[in-house]
Amino acid sequence: MPFSRKRAIARTSIRILANDPAPTIVMIAMPLILAAFLKPAMAAQLQAQGFSGANGAEQVIPGLAVMFAFLSTQVVSMLFYREHYWGTWERLRATGASASDVMIGKAVPLFFVMMVQLVVVFGAGGAFFGYRINGSFLALGALVAGLVAAVIGYAVMVVAIFKTLDQAMVIGNLGGMLMAGLGGALAPAASMPGWAQAAAHLSPAYWGLEGIRDVTLGHAGLVDVAGALVALTVFTVCCGLIAAIRFRPTEAKIGTT
């Protein structure tokens, strides 16, 4: 029975996401549009760092993909808070659905949607901007999955902590941009001031992007990015634990702006 509840909630989440694909389409389109502007500048920066054959896509595609993945936390927030706005939250609870049923039932479809989002951005980056990797595709896939899990963990933690959709959107987006920026989404972390480089270690974007950089510009395989994967897992688990401790199914949330 508990599995059927998770499956039913997941199926509903997929239907809701499919009925409103605009946010996902924007999160795919925007990095590709911005890549066209930023790629030449990034090419010069990478070449100055010694990567003579770099065309800029090696930095701009992963960076913007990760930046907009973190901005997708609002999609996660909406999926939770809308249940309160629609009056369906209490109904879900009355069926005996637990907090974990709801969290897993929403997080799993979101994971796959965001994986598709990032795969499309990386794929289009390869097709239109000449993004290539020297290392292992498996390692790249694992890093992307780890980053998506970290983003969803962070977003669910934000939902668990904040009472209103406005709070979750503002804090979620600001926090997401900060983590992505510190992590090297806009410029390589190595080019930032020393204090920022130190702070970047707290950001999952840093570990994910450093790993992707090693796969893209170096020849890294799965073993080489194990440290980054562990860091992403630790971040995700910490967010999940905070969410589990803080999440109150009985708390009335304000699900509209």
Partner: protein
């Protein structure tokens, strides 16, 4: 079967439920009535496992199923419970069929069984033609029927309907009441809260009156009417003579009822038995011109008033029991 034993609940320092005891047998519809804020929704929320109580027990079960205490094992009891909360709760961008299926699947039905049941429920509620429509495009009455239908998908043994006809049109109300009756005939124990007291009468329900945090009366509608309601006699005049006081006391009514004089409407409401009409007329001042006499049969509302000493909150839609008028 639903049995609530000595249920207590406070919000902060304010006690809302002070020891509620209630039993609803399989096949019984119980109209739970009370003023706004009396605690009806709190009882339902606790009994449906959505809210904790300070103390007490809520047993849910039936002859063929295990009995669970909702307070200690809410998730086990949930499978036996159907709830249509007071506020509308549907997924607006999903179709009516998908909305119904979600709750079938949540109760453990497979996709095919959930779809078949969705069609069955929609048929009963007159929504068969709207199954493919997204919920956001349904009318208010259709959405209210869908909202109710979502609680019926798993054939619950105990069904809580919290003001299910608020905002519903006549057709929606009729459909909902019809389904409630058939569910009771199928053996469900139903708790039905409403401010439209005529619905309780139409359903042939038993009545429990919640007042001061306790159930102060539980009986059949007929027994309640015969013991606590009187016909209402309104003597209609063409206006208030200047020397008539604003309040008129009729000491020979049962209990010496104090009745209301409404000078602006030229109405003298007398909560007295019909046989006292003559006496009431005799008390009218000389020169008052009689326009008519209206006699209303006993109503659940007047019984509620008699039991609780206060009027139940209701809107104009609830005034379906218009008085029989005898005009002079």
């Amino acid at each position: 079967m639903l049995e609530i034993i000595d249920l207590k609940k406070s919000y902060g320092e304010k006690p809302v439920l002070r020891g509620v005891n209630l039993k609803v047998e399989p096949g019984e519809i119980l109209g739970l009535i009370g003023s706004n804020g009396a605690g009806k929704t709190t009882i339902i929320s606790i009994a449906a496992g959505l809210r904790t109580c300070d103390s007490g027990q809520v047993h849910i079960g039936s002859g063929r199923e295990s009995e669970w205490d909702v307070v200690s094992e809410p998730r086990r009891a949930a499978g036996l419970i159907g709830l249509a909360p007071q506020d509308l709760g549907v997924y607006p961008m999903l179709t009516a069929e998908q909305n119904l299926m979600v709750f079938g699947e949540l109760a453990g039905l497979g996709a095919r069984a959930a779809r078949a049941r969705a069609h069955e429920v929609a048929e009963g509620l007159g929504l068969a033609g709207e199954l493919a429509q997204t919920a956001s495009t349904l009318s208010g009455g259709q959405a209210r029927r869908l909202h109710t239908g979502m609680a019926l998908m798993h054939r619950p043994s105990v069904l809580f309907l919290d003001e299910p006809t608020v905002g519903a049109d006549v057709a929606a109300r009729r459909a909902i009441l019809g389904v409630v009756r058939s569910l009771a005939e199928a053996g469900a124990a139903i708790v039905y809260t409403t401010h439209y007291l005529t619905e309780v009468v139409d359903l042939g329900a038993h009545v429990a009156i919640l007042e001061g945090g306790r159930i102060v009366l539980r009986d059949s509608v007929q027994a309640l009417l015969s013991s606590h309601a009187r016909p209402t006699v309104a003597v209609v005049t063409d206006g208030a003579p200047a020397d008539l006081p604003g309040w008129v006391v009729v000491p020979d009514g049962p209990g010496g009822v104090q009745d209301r004089w409404s000078p602006s409407e030229g109405l003298l409401d007398l909560h007295t038995p019909t046989e006292l009409v003559a006496g009431a007329l005799a008390r009218l001042p000389r020169g008052t011109r009689l326009v008519g006499i209206e006699i209303s049969p006993p109503t659940l509302e007047s019984a509620f008033l008699d039991v609780t000493g206060r009027a139940i909150a209701f809107d104009d839609n609830a005034r379906e029991d218009a008085p029989d008028a005898i005009f002079a």
